[in-house]
Amino acid sequence: MKVLVCISHVPDTTSKINFKDDNTQFDANGVQFVINPYDEFALTRAMWLKEKQGATVTVITVGNNTTEPTLRKALAIGADAAIRVDVEATDGFSVAKQLAEVVKSGEYDVILGGKESIDFNGGMVPGMLASFLDFNFVNACIGLEIEGTTATVEREIDGGKEIIKAELPIVIAGQKGLVEEKDLRIPNMRGIMMARKKPLTVVTPVECSNATASTSFEKPVAKGAVKLVDADNIDELISLLHNEAKVI
């Protein structure tokens, strides 16, 4: 079984978000980058496929060379090989196209990724990738088992979950549940040493035009100070919620 895990290189969840160049660019100054948390669930699930079912695991990202430490971290966690498509990721549509080109030449059975990245929150690359390739696709996955050429997938639905059966090849967009938080792995020293020797292939991008472009950013308006209500004056809170906020 050949597994490909798509990884986004994103600011750490605790990062303060700032912009530069007249609010047109993200300011990466002082920001630590990590494997997108949703992709980390996917990577860990891929490790289980490797350990329990003998899969080979390749990780891929679309981005310039500043993303390589993130790929090396994925290798240190246990992926066998890494691929970087050498173009800046600025549009989900073209990122999916770039990934599709790599998948076409790689004969992958299972493609895993997170359901969205925590920077642009586009939530589109896995579904577009599947559509470009005409592979099966399941979004918001909270469980995955593969037997032979069939995947059994749990998907979160509004107010519950459903079980889907689908034939490989398949693209899976995961979230927590695919594995649990406690199952996530931190690279150990041996992993980090081994990662240095694992192949990281840089691929030239294909020609493709963007469908969307980010034009600017804006920070939410600073909100007013909290109105504190005395713990002995619950009536006031109810009155504020009813008359002022009009939410009850």
């Binding site: 896995p126 099966n136 918001a140 059966k165 034009t215 909290v226 209500v229 619950i234 809170l237």
Partner: protein
């Protein structure tokens, strides 16, 4: 030309989000000077959509579409968009909408944006404002393709009445089988879901243990709210993961969010920021949540919440 809106339904009944996307779509159509067409699949009472501005409802009735299948649904939307010569396609941000959105986009060779919180700005092409960085910022995105696909963020535009006299037309798309099928569905019945709820009551580690969740549940019941929890609480196994809200959990965009014993870590706030009004109850006046909340009570949840429940019951009785 037209604006096509997919109005999602469950077991024949339109979801609340369907009315919001139709309200939004009507306004987009007005800006573009074109018609509003809604598409429904196996839904009853299609004329309900006239109230929110749908001038035409394309109504698909097909047993093979009883189970949601993203590929089939995306194909139906594509066929409707082509039939109606749609230049903008709008979907909601429910689990089904976000599942099929990217497929619709590729089918129509259309640029796609999610988390959209504004009407398009047409001054310089077609630009929308959207939530990004897990609601820590907004991003303006220009869509340059002929057809645009938009997923509207939940509770960002609102349900706005704009009654028109409309028509319901049957629409019969061609549906091809695919090798993906739903084997079973498990749904909690009779409980308000976090996605649908106007009010969400959420508990954190300050509640000390799962045995104390009766407080959260009772408060939620009085308010007709959904229950939720912080990440540590779901990680500790006190509550199911499906209740975890925050950056890597479920996003919340309710009208009212009540946080009990939640300190307000940046990752938690990122996931609930889209809620309109936030109330925090916490013993620690230094808890970061007080900086993000609209109303706050510094106090012990075990004393404050029972009083709140009692007072709300009185309030509900008077205002029923």
């Amino acid at each position: 030309m037209s604006v096509l809106i997919y109005a999602d339904s469950s077991e024949g009944t339109f979801k609340k989000s369907a009315f919001e996307v139709v309200s939004y779509g009507k306004k987009v159509a007005e800006l573009l000077g074109t018609n509003t067409v809604a598409l429904s699949i196996n839904a009853a009472d299609n004329d309900q959509l006239f109230k929110y501005g749908a001038e035409k409802v394309l109504c698909v009735s097909d047993e093979t579409l009883n189970d949601f299948n993203a590929k089939s649904y995306a194909s139906v939307i594509q066929q409707a968009a082509v039939a109606e010569n749609a230049t903008v396609v709008i979907i909601d941000s429910g689990n089904n909408g976000l599942y099929m959105g990217p497929m619709v986009s590729v089918n129509l060779n259309a640029g796609y944006t999610t988390n959209v919180v504004s009407l398009p700005n047409l001054d310089n092409g077609f630009t929308v404002k959207r939530n990004a960085f897990s609601t820590k910022a907004f991003n303006h995105t220009n869509i340059s393709t002929d057809i645009k696909v938009i997923a509207l963020a939940k509770n960002s535009y609102g349900i706005i009445e704009n009654a028109v006299s409309g028509v319901v037309e049957d629409f019969t798309p061609s549906i091809s089988a695919n090798s993906l099928s739903v084997a079973s569905v498990e749904k909690t019945t009779g409980k308000v879901t976090i996605g649908d709820a106007d009010i969400v009551v959420s508990g954190g580690r300050g509640l000390k243990g799962p045995e104390n969740w009766g407080l959260v549940e009772e408060l939620a019941e009085v308010l007709g709210a959904a229950t939720a929890c912080s990440k540590p609480v779901s990680d500790l196994g006190w509550r199911p993961h499906s209740e975890h809200v925050g950056q890597t959990g479920k996003p919340v965009a309710s009208n009212l969010y009540i946080a009990i014993g939640i300190s307000g870590a940046i990752q938690h706030l990122a996931g609930i920021n889209a809620s309109k009004v936030k109330v925090v109850i916490n013993t620690d006046p230094e808890a970061p949540f007080f900086k993000a909340a609209d109303y706050g009570i510094v106090g012990d949840a075990f004393e404050v919440v029972p009083k709140l429940i009692e007072k709300l019951k009185e309030f509900k009785a008077q205002n029923a």
